[in-house]
């Protein structure tokens, strides 16, 4: 653990997430139009564009302030359920981080705190066909990889792999939360849009953070 993840590293993560969300906006919305209200890509893109805009307008001083600002922007600007869910995720991450740079273990603890925030907010469980189906395996894989002595980069790659597998595993599931739950059995056979954007969040972490000296 050299000197950890700095504000600039986390900003790079947020910018990369915003970039991939914009790139996948139509795909996310198409997934949501199959089983939801057809706004996930549009909403996430609007929220992440606003989050990047806020970082530029008022650059935060430390890692916790940065993630808090992102969270506050998302709870306000996304519009759909992903606003309070992703917003709470980043707000809880911020609450778990101090003002100092985060080492790998601190980042993993913050990610776990974010996950717990999503659980508290959405009251979903693994298998309900939600973003948790990507986020839970990602946090588990990250903890496991770090515990076995892997560096942050390799551990994040393991987390992103787990998130993608979790995303793919939502396809046969019947939705039990959110708009998709109104469809009941007809929601099976479709990939969950929230799990898809969460897999992008972990991919963005690999792209932006895996090379960091921590």
């Amino acid at each position: 653990m050299a000197d950890g993840l700095h504000t600039a590293d986390l900003e790079a993560w947020i910018r990369e997430f915003a970039r991939v969300v914009a790139e996948h906006r139509e795909e996310l919305t198409a997934l949501d139009s199959a089983i939801g209200d057809a706004d996930h890509g549009t909403n996430m893109d609007r929220g992440m564009t606003a989050a990047v805009g806020a970082l530029e307008a008022a650059p935060p001083a430390d890692p916790a302030a940065l993630l808090k600002q992102v969270g506050m922007t998302l709870v306000s600007k996304v519009g759909g359920a992903s606003g309070p869910l992703y917003g709470t995720f980043f707000l809880r991450m911020a609450g778990a981080l101090g003002p100092e740079p985060a080492d790998a273990a601190a980042f993993a603890r913050a990610l776990r705190a974010g996950l717990e925030g999503v659980v508290a907010r959405g009251k979903a469980e693994p298998g309900d066909k939600t973003m948790l189906d990507a986020l839970v395996p990602a946090c588990d894989a990250l903890d496991e990889a770090l515990a076995s002595g892997k560096p942050l980069g390799a551990a994040l790659e393991a987390a992103a792999d787990a998130a993608r597998q979790g995303r793919d595993a939502t396809i046969p599931l019947v939705a039990r939360k959110g708009r998709a739950s109104y469809l009941g059995e007809r929601s099976a056979g479709h990939q969950d849009p929230g799990a898809t954007s969460t897999a992008l969040l972990l991919d963005a972490a690999v792209s932006a953070l895996a090379g960091s000296q921590s």
């Binding site: 506050m72 600007k77 996304v78 519009g79 606003g83 917003g87 707000l91 907010r121 708009r179």
Partner: protein, 136 residues
């Protein structure tokens, strides 16, 4: 006035405003704080936890607030909004599981009459009762 305030949270601003119009029809010549937090900034469908927390604070005159919501993100955003409030205001705000339109009308009538928060919340929850009794 020692009234309970109401907040209407909806994905749609026209839906929220029409529900308030319908409720105010029951309150001719009477005042009641009913705040709306609905829709996205650009007039689209969606909810905004920051706007909802501002509406909760605006509706509160110290006697409590009852919040009526439509579905999905309206509920999650209202819960998030609670976390953004000061502790003393948060304690006075109650999120109603009652139906948006019928609950709002029942709540508005008793709130305008000066009922306390728990009485207003109980009325909101009973909003469907007249319709259910009629159609039973």
């Amino acid at each position: 006035m020692s009234q309970v305030g109401l907040v209407v949270v909806s994905h749609s601003r026209p839906l929220a405003e029409a529900a308030v119009t319908l409720a105010r029809q029951m309150l001719p010549g009477r005042e009641l704080a009913i705040e709306v937090a609905a829709g996205t900034e650009d007039g689209g469908l969606g909810t905004d936890a920051v706007a909802i927390s501002a509406a909760m604070a605006a509706a509160d005159s110290g006697n409590g607030v009852v919040v009526l919501m439509d579905l999905g993100s309206a509920v999650l955003s209202a819960e998030t909004a609670l976390e953004l409030l000061d502790d003393d205001v948060r304690e006075r705000v109650l999120l109603s599981p009652g139906p948006l339109v019928e609950g709002l009308i029942g709540a508005a009538v008793v709130a305008a009459g000066g009922a306390d928060r728990d009485r207003v919340a109980a009325e909101a929850l009973l909003g469907l009762a007249p319709k259910q009794a009629h159609l039973a």
